[in-house]
Symmetry: C3
Subunit: 208 residues, 3 copies
């Protein structure tokens, strides 16, 4: 399975910030449950999953990429990272867990405290992506890599993948409701709503 984007310049812009702004707690909880399930299916997938990162990949976009088995990113101006802290919000514990499994403790601590966004070359140097190629070669590179992975006996590969991701998957599975409630409470705090409002205003200013 190849994760790619139809929108030029953007792999995934992450969660829809508008969905979090001036919403109701019920709507927030429902939104969060849908995200949890999507991620549990992706990170726990028996399929080979590859990210073709042909554009910006902040926050939730970075989570999706990190949850794949392999990541190819376009060189150039695009950025990738969990930048939640910069918006005044906090990456959920399972975002953190996936990043720990990808780049280790020290890089994760620095990345999350700063809400860092990395260029493709920086991402490659810390192991956040596996390969960097020119934009036009991202998809062919992913397809070539996929052919290699498809030669591995599937049953053994799936058992291996599942056993290595089980602890992180189980950690969210065991506290889905608590996590959703925490998100809804946190996002509806006055201070957080104010931060999000300012961020949305700055985005709209850029557009105009």
């Amino acid at each position: 399975m190849v994760l790619a984007s139809a929108a030029p310049g953007i792999f995934s812009a992450g969660l829809d910030i508008l969905e979090m702004y001036q919403s109701t707690p019920e709507r927030c909880v429902a939104f969060w449950r849908a995200l949890q399930d999507a991620w549990l299916n992706l990170y726990g997938s028996r399929l080979i999953t590859m990210a073709a990162i042909e554009g910006h990949s902040p926050a939730g976009g970075c989570l999706l990429a990190m949850s794949c088995d392999y990541r190819v990113m376009a060189e150039g101006k695009f950025q990738i990272g969990l930048n939640e802290t910069k918006l005044g919000i906090v990456a959920p514990f399972w975002f953190t867990d996936v990043m720990l499994n990808t780049i280790g403790h020290r890089e994760t601590e620095k990345a999350l405290q700063l809400g860092a966004l990395y260029s493709a070359q920086q991402a490659l140097s810390i192991g956040l992506v596996d390969k960097v190629v020119p934009l036009a070669e991202v998809m062919p590179t992913v397809e070539g890599e996929l052919k290699n992975w498809l030669q591995i006996p599937a049953a053994a590969r799936v058992i291996t993948k599942t056993s290595m991701r089980k602890a992180v998957l189980d950690r969210l599975r065991s506290q889905k409701e608590k996590d959703a409630q925490f998100f809804a409470d946190f996002i509806n705090r006055d201070s957080v709503q104010k931060s999000l409002g300012m961020y949305i205003a700055s985005l709209q200013k850029k557009k105009n």
Copy 2:
């Protein structure tokens, strides 16, 4: 203690595949218990242990090398890695634990899903070995390194080593029987026996 091989071109070919093919469950369990004990003694050894990798080092050979305190590998055509997945089998959890302690989570996940075998230079770049030198210099390099390690006060070094490896050793110690039974059941599945049969046939073809 220096782990080396008397066979030119091979450090250790890993477990004897013939021992797993068309065997009895009892024989498989006995074989596996012997391997568990050998590994518990090596990984938990109070001695300084060094691997002189002067040849191929797949599967169990890679486990032995990773379980030492230091690894020197010959440059050239030799390969090292846990390639179980390529044979349609799965590396036991304690092989995985030792690899996690050596090269971290991301590299281990990729290595095990692909059953990857690395050249000496690749192994060096991901931290799977500590030094790469020409074949003739492997043993002198190991001996030189051993002299450095022998200058460290032994009691303090042993406490340090033991405490850092305890969690992984205890994990196997607490489930030796279950692990041996799992191996015997798994290896005697029809599909696995078929994979092994094909692998053995391909080896014999190469020989002829």
Copy 3:
């Protein structure tokens, strides 16, 4: 908060060895409790903490540096590392935990078994420090970096930092007395006192 030293050529020489030599068990326990509390406050600090390493940084000095959020070290002859093993003593488990969070399992195991002291360049290459600059630029570099970190919304940064360090902090918090007692018993062993006595004599010889 910037951790720096007023003494030229030394960041922190670590614990006062004289405090451990020919002391009473009560005095050792009190000394150790003070160290535990100082470290719990530093590693768990809500402030941004940066180490300006302008000199040697062995043992406890290395612990302090690793416990900061960012480390800038002067290039040149200075060394950093947990060198306890070389003195015949053993780094406490929480020193080990902080090093694991900084440079990962393999590098920590090697560093602690050998009691290794690293040059600034070596420390950079294994991730033990974040940046190496000429001595005169250490403080300006730290101040520049601090400005970057201060731009991050503080509440989100503090929650992120706290949650990533909680497990290691809690591990010491839950066994402070046991750890202090172990230290006092260990340090007062005849063999350890003998090692320390020889080490102090060698330092005094160097001075004269």
